[in-house]
């Protein structure tokens, strides 16, 4: 188990973002195969594949697809979550930038299976270049008849695809806030089950709505082309297929790596060239929201949902951050909490007030004002946020701090007692050399 390029199979192929190159390499075969099947058979194939949502939560994709009602007269909307806001995660960016047709194809397949009326790709506002690529791919797909009216000659298979740019908020990646934002409202999350119907019943504009991550749709395209069973051959018992991991931090070759589910964490570390600038101190495997893992625990962790969970962390979005021993964990947490404070939408009390309080305490500690009892206070505040907030952002703000205190409590104590960093003169890490430069583009 290690690097397995399924979605990335053609990422280095020059011109793969163009329709002709993509088609030559088997592009849109997934869609071609899908439309020969009954809609339910497409969903069943996704079920066979064992694909789980790649946006972070790992929810079985087929259940969502299957949940879209089959007999409403309402329009059905499909949303691609391309907001990719989780710090440390940049996989969707590369997928859209290099293989935009893979996403368009995946969304067309989902549109077929779920009787979609229209699809919206909600792209993070900063992702200007990926959005150009996607728009270009959409244009080409319309010309080829993969989108639009009576797609591929199938009477009544009408499906439009749009790009919607976000306006710069992490919270808008949370699926219900994304729906608010897409409808032109403030990017606040919405009520969820059991308080309100599921999005597959009432999502945007009170119509059935499917929300999936970029990587999820791309994987669906691969699955329909190669068959669900083929995908299910990879991975572990409950985590199938591959996952793209965005590796960053003190690492020799920061880049996106597509690994088979269940790959030992240390294997990926090795494949990415190993830690640089010092000894390995810790890894955050799934984006800034998940608990940090000390170096000594890493050999027990495999990159799949269950193994990460068993070790007390999460695979999350695959934002894999590597830290060497020059890292001051307390400063890291101060920066992390600053992020969540800044990104809190403000709707609910625990997150709105709690995230700022957390930051203020960490800021005070790292300014030499730490006091006895601060650690307990931090833990207490986290417990008052975790599970009490309106949406997952509050939880995501609490987990890393709890995780960091659990793993590196002595560093917090050191800061509080000595009013300075336990790391000595804190070294700012050098900017990593980018080994895999992304495309530079002009508008399509």
């Amino acid at each position: 188990m290690a690097i397995r390029n399924l979605l990335f199979e053609h990422r280095e192929v020059a011109g793969i973002e163009e329709m002709d190159v993509y088609e030559k390499l088997g592009g849109y075969e997934g869609l071609r195969r899908a439309v020969t099947l009954e809609r339910q058979a497409v969903i069943d194939d996704v079920k066979t594949s064992g694909l789980r949502g790649r946006g972070g939560a790992g929810f079985p994709t087929w259940i969502k697809w299957n949940g879209i009602p089959k007999n409403t007269d309402k329009p059905h909307y499909l949303i691609c979550n391309a907001d990719e806001g989780e710090p440390g995660t940049y996989k969707d960016r590369e997928l859209m930038l290099k293989t935009p047709h893979l996403l368009v194809e995946g969304m067309a397949i989902a549109g077929y299976a779920c009787l979609g009326t229209a699809g919206y790709i909600y792209i993070r506002g900063e992702y200007v270049e990926p959005a150009w690529q996607i728009r270009k791919a959409i244009d080409q797909a319309y010309k080829k008849g993969y989108l639009g009216k009576n797609i591929m000659g199938i009477e009544g298979f009408n499906y439009d695809l749009y790009v919607h740019m976000g306006a710069g908020s992490y919270e808008c990646g949370e699926e219900s806030a994304l729906m608010s934002s897409l409808m032109g409202e403030r990017g606040n999350p919405r009520l969820k089950a059991p308080h309100a119907p599921l999005p597959v019943h009432e999502g945007v504009w009170k119509s059935p709505t499917l929300v999936n991550n970029v990587e999820t749709y791309c994987a669906a395209a691969w699955i329909l082309k190669n068959g669900g069973a083929e995908y299910a051959k990879l991975g572990t018992e409950r985590s199938k297929g591959t996952k793209i991991i965005s590796v960053s931090g003190h690492i020799a070759k920061p880049a996106n790596y597509e690994v088979e589910m269940g790959t030992p964490l240390l294997d990926l570390l090795k494949a990415a060239g190993g830690v640089t600038g010092g000894k390995l101190k810790a890894v955050i495997p799934g984006g800034s929201s998940v608990p940090i893992m000390t170096a000594d625990k890493l050999d027990k962790i495999n990159l799949d949902y269950e193994s990460c969970a068993a070790s007390g962390t999460m695979l999350g979005s695959g934002g894999f951050m590597v830290f060497n021993d020059t890292t001051d964990i307390v400063l890291l947490m101060k920066r992390t909490s600053e992020f969540y404070m800044h990104e809190s939408c403000g709707k609910c009390t625990p997150c709105r007030e709690g995230t700022r309080w957390l930051f203020k305490i960490l800021d005070r500690i790292t300014s030499g004002g730490g006091r006895e009892g601060d650690i307990e206070l931090l833990l207490d505040i986290c417990s008052q946020i975790d599970g009490r907030s309106y949406c997952g952002l509050g939880d995501a703000a609490a987990w890393p701090i709890v995780g960091a205190i659990k793993a590196f409590r002595e560093e917090f104590e050191y800061w509080i007692e000595h009013k300075r960093s336990p790391i000595g003169d804190h070294a700012v890490p050098p900017t990593p050399v980018v080994v895999n430069p992304l495309l530079t583009l002009t508008p399509a």
Binding site: G346, R356, I361, Q384
Partner: protein, 739 residues
């Protein structure tokens, strides 16, 4: 106008009850409607769940934000083998939005819940200024109360608090203390769900989030006062009440707003003899719990310096204060000398008791039928427009019934100004019940809120062409065979209507199609009431209602607080109380003024009517006042009309007397005396009664307002059986005997 229904706060109150489910709250088993919010079920069970953002009249979409109402929930889970077991939901749930479901078990007294509540309150207070000693809300503040009952005794917060300048001028009547805001979104939801102007929203995010208007423009609303009461802290404050009193120093009296015919139930909060503020009082049938700004902020006159405190006599163009003995002596002398050449105008702003005594004095003591309560609009027989054809006079519907309409046509009305509470019901029908609203009006004002903001269709017609518009609609109904039109549209075509009204033919067609099926209510406003050919327009309204099967759904509400009651009490030239026709009808307002102007009227008594200000033919009114007629006016302050009179008698405001008003939907509601401004101020009925007594009684003398109510219920069939007790706090809507 497109369907611009806003979606931020999903418009769903509790769903209609279709099924009952069994749930358990803190060990108490009960049956509740499926889907009811658990916080409401808990109330049924007598279990207190603290809350801030929850409000039963605001939609759920933006609620569940304060997290104060978190509870532990166990839900039944069916195992594959069919056995059902209870499983605890991993996270505590907001009970204010959690729908009740079969078998749910709720725990509100676990250690975890106690801790959650402490946690939320600690968070809410870290940035709260805690300036309770100088906060208007102090003493009646949900945040204080919840902190006392559920909060921790101390805070662990030692960092700097968030600061804002105090008293941000949000609206004409509302100032905003941003530091105190707990971001519950009640005010923002109010503007979106209820008033419909959607002006308040949140700016910025996270802990910097603040309530504001788009681009910090002024919050201009006709219902802004409600957000003061909705705000669970002292963040939104009344400009006029700010720093005026502490809640525990206030006395509160139940009353009814005196500003318009909708009759909002209110509380008068006062200190000694001065009115401090008006708050809404719940009456589900009328105002639910809202008031308009006119009502909430428009009562400062009651305790103002301008109030008349003694009778005033004009001699040689100069005003002189005199005492009541002298005033009554002069007045009675004039009335005796007049020998029947007396007339009375007014009563629409007086109580039923005042009106009853007014007409008793005129008819039975002064022997004159020249009495009329109407100042504007149609002055012919009140039976003509609707009663003779449909059996009712003003409103066919109760206000609350408007919610059940499929379509509502608002015709010739700036509804939000004329009938604010009816406006809110129409808006509720639209937002929460899915009604379609059509607005037909001759001019569209710029500012919101207004019916046009949410009307599916807006027909802007040339002033005065209402009848043509209605006939055009009828002709479409007939041409498209949508209704049996009975020849009502005879001689009319769509094209002709379009040309006369200036409304496009398509719009008229669309309107007709929208009105063709389902319950349709027609609400006509000032443009219809004051129309030169009032009868013709009402005729056309009647035709449309009849053709579509909605003969009982026509509404021509009056505008003054007791327009309806004054007519009920027979302050009309041609009807005794209860619309009993008179053999010798007297003069109506225009004829009375003409008589005065001609010099053929000796005494004119004006009971609180703003004749010079409002009577459409101002020249005639001026001529009447300039004549030799002795004019006596009952008033609160020296209005223009009072200034032009010969004798002005200081009358009590609604806050200083007992009695009843009948609102536009015929609901008879009690008002209660809150305080006396001066013992020299008398309620109108007492003034009439004292004059009657001095002139020999003859049925015009009464001891108290209750005494008069007894006489009313004895004489007026529709008011039969109404007593102070039976009216209760919510009033009673009287009905025509055959309905």
């Amino acid at each position: 106008m497109p369907d611009n229904r806003l979606t931020q706060t999903e418009a769903s109150l509790n769903p209609a009850v279709t099924q009952m489910v069994n749930i358990k709250i803190d060990g108490i088993e009960l049956q509740v409607p499926k889907g009811e919010n658990i916080i409401e079920s808990a109330k049924r069970a007598g279990v207190d769940i603290p809350y801030f953002c929850y409000h039963p009249r605001l939609s759920k979409g933006d609620a569940a934000n304060c997290r104060m109402c978190l509870v532990d929930v166990f839900a039944p889970r069916r195992a594959p083998d069919g056995t059902v077991s209870l499983a605890k939901m991993p996270k505590p749930q907001a009970s204010c939005t959690l729908p009740a479901d079969e078998g749910m078990v709720i725990v509100t007294d676990s250690e975890a819940v106690v801790r959650d509540r402490k946690g939320v309150l600690e968070f809410l207070l870290i940035n709260h200024p805690l300036d309770c000693p100088i906060c208007d809300r102090g003493g009646e503040c949900p945040l204080q109360n919840n902190a006392i009952f559920y909060g921790a005794a101390t805070s662990r917060y030692t960092e700097e608090k968030r600061h804002f300048p105090k008293a941000y001028p949000l609206a004409e009547n509302v100032v905003f203390d941003r530091e105190r805001c707990i971001h519950c979104a009640r005010c923002t939801r109010f503007t979106e769900d209820i008033s419909g102007d959607a002006q308040l929203g949140f700016l910025k995010r996270g802990a910097d989030m603040e309530v504001g208007t788009f681009e910090h423009t002024a919050y201009k609303s006709k219902f802004s006062g409600n957000v003061i009461e909705l705000c669970p802290v002292g963040a939104l404050l009344s400009r006029s009440y700010r720093f005026k009193a502490r809640p525990w120093d206030l006395h509160s009296q139940r009353s009814v707003c005196s500003k318009c015919s909708n009759g909002c139930n209110i509380k008068i909060d006062y200190r000694l003899d001065s009115l401090q503020r008006i708050n809404g009082r719940i009456n589900e049938a009328v105002n639910e719990e809202w008031t308009c700004d006119k009502g909430k902020f428009g009562h400062s006159y009651v305790s103002s310096e301008a109030r008349l405190k003694t009778p005033m006599l004009k001699t040689g163009g100069e005003w002189k204060a005199i005492d009541w003995t002298e005033a009554l002596q002069i007045l009675v002398g004039k009335l005796r000398d007049a020998n029947g050449s007396v007339a009375g105008i007014g009563g629409q702003r007086c109580t039923n008791e005042d009106n009853f005594a007014f007409q008793k004095l005129f008819r039975e003591v002064l022997k004159s039928n020249d009495i009329d309560s109407r100042v504007e609009g149609y002055l012919g027989s009140v039976n003509k427009p609707l009663y003779e054809r449909f059996g009712y006079h003003a409103m066919g519907n109760a206000i609350a019934e408007l919610e059940d309409m499929k379509t509502i046509l608002v015709l010739g009305s700036q509804l939000v100004d004329e009938q604010p509470i009816i406006y809110l019901r129409v808006r509720k029908a639209y937002r929460f019940k899915g009604a379609t609203v059509i607005n037909a009006v001759s001019s569209v004002p710029e500012d919101s809120p207004k019916v046009g903001d949410f009307a599916q269709l807006e027909l802007v017609y040339k002033p005065g062409t209402e009848a043509a518009l209605l006939k055009g609609i009828l002709s479409v109904l007939s041409a498209e065979k949508l209704a049996s039109v009975n020849g009502f549209a005879k001689g009319y075509t769509l094209e002709k209507a379009a040309e006369e009204t200036g409304v496009s033919a398509e719009a008229i067609q669309q309107a007709a199609r929208l009105m063709a099926t389902g319950k349709l209510a027609i609400i006509a406003g000032r443009e219809v009431a004051n129309h030169a050919n009032h009868l013709e327009v009402v005729q056309a309204i009647g035709d449309l209602a009849e053709a579509t099967g909605n003969a009982q759904n026509i509404n021509l509400p009056g505008e003054d607080v007791n327009s309806q009651g004054a007519a009920d009490m027979g302050v009309l030239p041609d009807f005794a109380p209860g619309y009993a026709p008179l053999e010798n009808p007297g003069k109506n307002t225009a004829q009375i003024l003409q008589a005065a102007a001609d010099g053929s009227l000796k005494v004119l008594w004006v009971a609180g009517a703003k004749l010079l200000e409002k009577f459409p033919n101002r020249e005639l009114a001026q001529a009447a006042f300039a004549s030799d007629t002795f004019i006596v006016v009952n008033e609160l302050t020296m209005t223009e009309t009072a200034q032009a009179a010969d004798l002005v008698l200081p009358a009590a405001s609604f806050a200083e007397k007992e009695g009843t008003f009948t609102n536009c939907e015929r609901r008879v509601q009690r008002i209660h005396k809150a305080f006396d401004i001066s013992l020299e101020i008398k309620p109108d009925w007492l003034i009439f009664s004292e004059v009657a007594t001095r002139m020999g009684g003859g049925g015009g003398s009464f001891f108290s307002a209750r005494d008069i109510l007894k006489a009313i219920s004895a004489q007026v069939p529709a008011y039969a059986g109404l007593t102070a007790k039976s009216l209760g706090d919510e009033g009673v809507r009287w009905n025509y005997p055959d309905k």
